[in-house]
Structure formats: structure tokens, C-alpha cells
Symmetry: C2
Subunit: 271 residues, 2 copies
């Protein structure tokens, strides 16, 4: 299975331009799965909910419909981040679009970063895994700041993900410390698809740091992009290899879990 991650620099508010860029890249990239960054149709730096609402659209809207049709016609899985409007709710979402449209799913970002809290609602889809029988791959989605919470990738791992796809708009470098661990600790492939470029809005300048990366299930980098350039990474992955979670005759990283001993759901700080 051949996956491609597309590192681009969307232009804020230029939806038609950004969509054309995405369409051209889909048309010209041979692969089974093509992945674009977080909020890649709109840009990132919304001022507030009112502005987000101007640019957001339904998962039944034109953008997702056009791309879904391309997934079907070109027999490619397409995953991209977009600003989603659902009635009065706004989500920082990722669409996973399949040749078989019945498999299409939307993931709504669980952990909101920085000023996103003023522009979006917290995601309500939770974590899920989509099984694509044709390619025999189980795909899980998370978005950007979700990386910081081991529970996100762990949830996807426990649900059976072979590959975690993480559309991102990362403005720090600190994620490089944890992203390979997310792959290793769950024995899954992981594709972090970042954007690059700068947005100057709302009195702030945000530099998106590129360096998109694809990791194997040992946390090893299979491919890594530059910090500041449009770049497509490719990797051939073998999803079946992630499913045996044992690594010697006596240890299995899922079966060895001591769920009887973990503190999960509360903050119990000693004071």
C-alpha cells in the first residue's frame, strides 16, 4: 500500500485557490492514500467563531463532495483537514474519503490548541478506526495537538488501527519528541502531515514548521520533509505487520497492559 503525504502552504481565506491546489495534487500523485494538512482548504488563523463560520462548510458541502467524487473516480483514499460547520456548531475536522463512499467518515479534533478554543467547538466524534477491505488497512485519525495526549493514539491503537493519520498545522518542534513514540508504543504506522509557511493575522505571526514525517511501527522515520517547502513524501507500508503486538514469545504490548492499575479519568494532584 502506497501512501503519500502532501506538505503545502494554504493561503488564508482563498478557498478556491487552495482547493485547486489540492485537486491538482490528487490528480498528479500516484498512490493508494493521499493525505493533506489540517484546515488545508481555508488556512488556520481564524479570528473568532464569526470568521470561522464564514469559511466553514458542511461535510455534505461542495468541497467534500468534489473530493469524495475524486476518491471514487481515482480509486484513492483522500484525507484532509477542513473547517466544518454543522448547524451552529463549528469543528476543526478531518475527512477520510474512500473509493467506497459508504466508508467516508469525519473526525472532529478532540483537543483544541491555543486560539482554536475561540473558533471551534471541541470535537464530539471521539476516536474510531475505518476498515478498508480492499486494501486490508485499518485507518485511525487524529489532528495536530492530539499528538500531545498519549490517550489519543492509544485509543486508535486499541481500536485496531494499523495506520494513524495526523493532519497538522504544527507551530513548534516539540512534537518530534513524542510522535515516533506514538507509533512505537502502539506498533502502528503514523503519518504526520504538516503545513509550512507563515500566516500574519490577528496581530500574530504564526510560522508553520513543516517537517511532515511518516513513521514505521517501530517509531523509525521512513520519510521526512523539509521545514519550509512544498513536498510530497511517499512510503510503502504493510498494514498486516502491525497486528501482532508481541515482540518476543512472552510479551505483547497490548495483552501486557495492566488496566487494573492505571489511573485514567481523574486528576488527583497531591497538594
Amino acid at each position: 500500500m502506497k501512501i503519500a503525504t502532501v506538505q503545502i502552504a494554504p493561503i488564508f481565506g482563498e478557498k478556491e485557490h487552495n482547493l485547486n491546489t489540492i485537486i491538482n495534487l490528487i490528480n498528479n500523485t500516484e498512490c493508494d492514500l493521499i493525505i493533506f494538512p489540517e484546515l488545508c482548504t481555508t488556512g488556520y488563523s481564524f479570528a473568532d467563531r464569526n470568521e470561522t463560520e464564514q469559511y466553514a462548510e458542511s461535510s455534505k458541502g461542495d468541497t467534500i463532495s468534489i473530493l469524495s467524487k475524486m476518491a471514487m473516480e481515482q480509486n484513492k483514499i483522500i484525507i484532509l483537514g477542513f473547517a466544518e460547520k454543522d448547524d451552529h456548531q463549528l469543528f476543526n475536522s478531518a475527512a477520510a474519503l474512500f473509493p467506497d463512499q459508504n466508508l467516508n467518515r469525519i473526525y472532529r479534533k478532540s483537543h483544541l490548541f491555543y486560539r482554536e478554543k475561540f473558533c471551534f467547538d471541541p470535537g464530539d466524534t471521539g476516536f474510531f478506526v475505518i476498515n478498508n477491505h480492499d486494501l486490508d488497512v485499518n485507518i485511525g485519525l487524529m489532528i495536530c495537538y492530539d499528538w500531545r495526549f498519549p490517550e489519543a493514539a492509544r485509543s486508535l491503537g486499541l481500536l485496531g488501527a494499523d495506520l494513524i493519520v495526523c493532519p497538522s498545522n504544527l507551530v513548534t518542534d516539540v512534537w518530534h519528541i513524542s510522535m515516533p513514540s506514538r507509533a512505537l508504543e502502539n506498533k502502528v504506522y503514523l503519518a504526520c502531515v504538516n503545513r509550512f509557511g507563515t500566516e500574519n493575522r490577528n496581530g500574530e505571526s504564526l510560522l508553520f514548521k513543516g517537517k511532515s514525517a511518516i513513521y514505521d511501527y517501530n517509531g523509525k522515520i521512513l520519510a521526512e520533509a523539509a521545514p519550509d517547502a512544498e513536498q510530497i513524501l511517499f512510503a510503502d507500508i504493510d498494514p498486516i505487520k502491525t497486528r501482532d503486538k508481541s515482540f518476543n514469545p512472552f510479551n505483547d504490548i497490548f495483552k501486557d497492559r495492566r488496566t487494573d492499575l492505571y489511573h485514567n479519568n481523574s486528576i488527583e494532584i497531591i497538594s
Copy 2:
């Protein structure tokens, strides 16, 4: 607060020799907290439960009593791994011994590695944090293979740990991918104290890979040892710096957790 990690190569079965080594190092190391590797009084490669039982001793036994007295007399916290016998149960344990003996606690390794499953019972203490008021530090314990489970360090983080201490006998290098992430994702200091040297027993040769490391709460290495030498690492840490889990005005890595969305306690593989 000055911590010291002691990377040594215990000799299998030579308890008196190993304990003398430990005592000399405690006597000659100026610090507030001194940490030794997993199973450092006995060595690692027990053949089976019968052999473990020959060398294991109670947490009320001579070894721990002698070291506990030293902790009191020298006003040092001492943490070390040892083989613990409790009635007919055997544990791969770590003792945390304080100047105030009332604080002394035993952690029993939760996740057993490889042939440990034939030599020890799975730990039953779970994860806990010890507050030392004199130094104003909250210490949590895990042992070696516990690193692979983000839930272990997460449990300690949520319980209020400022510093995670991880006595180890690591025979791979793969932990270097995750250990810094454990510190970063919980914003805690982390001291991984490994042994070095080789044990040839039970028809197997185990090479312990040293490279003990102390990480700050951003996952940055403060000090790192050689792979194959006796070496003491020192670090000055400021436990209070770990307690504010926010990193900008809007994000806090604990408060941002979406415990409503996480899959924790079950394996739900799609088939």
C-alpha cells in the same frame, strides 16, 4: 534538589558484594536523592521462581533495613531495585527509602518482561506518588519495561509526580524513543537508571545497555551515561516547575484531556 543516578554492573548472586558496592557509592556521593538500577542487589537473570526465592528477601529484611538506616543517617533519599519475597509471592520491586522512614514505600513492577514472568508475580501495588515535604518533591516509581506503557507514566503524572524514577535493566535501545516523551507528555522530570554489563545464564547472554539518562520536563536530556561503564550522573532539578501544566494562556496538558473520549480498558480490535 540534587539527584544522582548510579549506573553499575551487579554480579549475579553476589549479594554481599553488590550491597557493599551500593553502600560505598551512597557514602561517597553527595546528593539529596541517589538512585540505583533494577534488581541491583542480586543481578537479573534468575532461572525460575525457585532460584528467585533463594535470593529474594522481605522489604523488612537486612538489605532494605541497612539502606533505610543510611537514608536516615545521611539525610538522603535512596531508591533501588531488589528482588522481594512476601510470604510465597515474589516481586521485581523498587524500594524508596527516606530520611523519614514513615515515607518508605515499595513499588512492585507492574509489567513483567520476558522470562521475568517465570520468576516473579505481577506487581500488585499499582502506581503511587510519595510526597517528601522537606524537599517539596513528589516522587513516582516505575521499573524498566513499564516505560513501554504510556499509562504507567501517565498514572504517575496524574497522581502529582514531579519526578519519575525508573530503575532499569534494559537490554534494548528502543526505549530511547519513548522515555523523553514520557517526561514531556506529563511535564515531569524523569530519571532512567540502567545497569551495564553482561550476564550469561540459562543458556542466554544478556547485554545490559547502560546509557542511563535524566530528562527535564520538556523531554530534554540533562545528563546521559556511557553504554558500558560505571557512571554517576548528577542533575539539579526544581520540582515546583513541573506543577503548572499549562504552556500558554489557553492550554494545559492535563486540563485539556478528553477523558470522555478515550478508550482505556479494553482491546477492541476490528476483525
